[in-house]
Symmetry: C2
Subunit: 362 residues, 2 copies
Amino acid sequence: MREKAREHMENILAKLREFGLTIYDQLARGEFPRIKIPSRTTSNIIYDPDLRQFVLGDQVVTRSAANIRQVRSFTQLIWVAFFAYKSMLANQPTTLRDLYYNAEAFDIKFKNQQESNDVVADLETILGVPREDFMIFPEERSAVFGDLTIEYTSPDPDYYGKRINLSSHPDGLMIGPSLLTADFVECNADKVIAIETGGLFTRFIAEKVHKKFNAILVHTAGQAPRATRRFLRRLNEELGLPVYILTDADVWGMHIAMVIISGSANAAHLTELTTPDAKWLGVWATDIVRYKLPTDAMTEEDLNRLRLLMRDPRYQDPFWMREINEFLKIKRKAEQQSFSRYGLSYIVKKYLPDKLREVSGR
Amino acid sequence: MREKAREHMENILAKLREFGLTIYDQLARGEFPRIKIPSRTTSNIIYDPDLRQFVLGDQVVTRSAANIRQVRSFTQLIWVAFFAYKSMLANQPTTLRDLYYNAEAFDIKFKNQQESNDVVADLETILGVPREDFMIFPEERSAVFGDLTIEYTSPDPDYYGKRINLSSHPDGLMIGPSLLTADFVECNADKVIAIETGGLFTRFIAEKVHKKFNAILVHTAGQAPRATRRFLRRLNEELGLPVYILTDADVWGMHIAMVIISGSANAAHLTELTTPDAKWLGVWATDIVRYKLPTDAMTEEDLNRLRLLMRDPRYQDPFWMREINEFLKIKRKAEQQSFSRYGLSYIVKKYLPDKLREVSGR
């Protein structure tokens, strides 16, 4: 199993070396080096109904060291590739912010962090590799709990080859670099339930949802960080586990589910962050009505956001349209925890089995 | 060891029963029941320089079932005590939000969640017990990593009596109900370093800060949740470990440290959430100058907040005043990760040992 993770890493190092060599070769031939990058401007971001996510179209931009206006961004890009290569070799996890500050040590100038973030996205686009593979991780952390044994593959000798079961600690284990690069050794669960709020994640563990429903529980902590989306995809792809997403019944909760399923326009240049077969389990707008949940009024911002999503290509499907229309009709929203109105265990004893039956059949 | 946790829980259950009996006795004597509660209004919150935290003064309010205007809040309070007792017996972790919604199932009315939160604070005040002991936990989650072996004491048979070392998973373990009630069995660390950002927490683990500095690492995830503050206090009190706090060099980072050290005015009725001997390790305003860190300009909001804290009793100490004045002088702020300007390892190799030497001597 460990071979696979090693191979994956070798692969990416090889891509980075190859990228460096194309520059080097051009220089050796006495040419100004140039790079072609698929454009990430809005007009080149198109929705692919087969992949069920945003992808980049055919527009390409060129960065050339011969063009005085491009030499700055060209240099930045080469340095970012160097930074990525170095971090991978040193097995040193970093963040976008570390990269931004570290550039100063090399006299590479970025106007602000948005500029360095954009250059990292350029490198992702060129190589088709998400930055987490370059050891550049998001700040945000989320957690997992369930009967899955993993084996660490990162080169740290204190952990390399060691195993842990993800139900070892009943408050949950953090999803970070070590988990993301670990191999999945043995799994006794047959599904994944991703949960928006920490309170419900904790209660599900206490109420043994992982046993009763044979599930791995993932806490998304609001909008799922990229590392968490990637982990969900791996659970789905490598272990064949269906992924169900449980959020608040509002436009933001609905979109947490959508981003796990279909990704974001910002990540149109990457395919490894989505789980197209994941399902939004609830809480749906129609659940608010069906289960007579306690609600709050939607704000003007909520309603505007709903109207915006009506025109979003990811939502052009009878199921999603029905839910958006229902939200717009009732103009109310409800929280996951509002099921406590019927007793604290109601969501586990009644709602969850009802919805799993309904959604897994769709 | 497990006896201690059991005793603690029995103690709180006894306090709740005793509270119920005083009501019951009054009813049995044919009286309208009444309760005296120390007042939590601003005028009754005073700073205690010996305890180094806010405490409540002598003002007391009375809730009486005989008073038509108090009968509502009186009933709410009795129900909240019932909810707490039930949650403890069932070992069922909940949140303030669960409690708010669950009230409806009992026909107990709350105007909004602020009202139910206030009644929970009433119960904390009366019994002198933080709500986490009633299994009411915050939504927010943070994490820990280090060479400390714990033993679970919560009555869940899957975990009761089991042990885990907190360095078992190199991405960190979540701080939740199970960790908070666990016994500390064996600790090989001699200090605690609490870190504001997730990126640095992850990097410290990768760079073996826990080994090089013999430290338990805690990720506060911004402002430390109450459960995390309580965990830090336990590490300090039960294991005698000094606690060092590393934050961004700005007014918000400084205050993250202060709330761990001296608590907040909101929690003036509780003493178990503070670690008065914890030290702010940095990044100080004076560190910005000394280490020539890359900075951003302070906003008007930052500056106003600094001026407010100048008059805050918790900051009336030459060290804190020096740092506030320095911030006001330079009008700049810096992030923890800005040390990456000198290379990614600089903060571990240079800044951390420098500051630990300096601060532990104070």
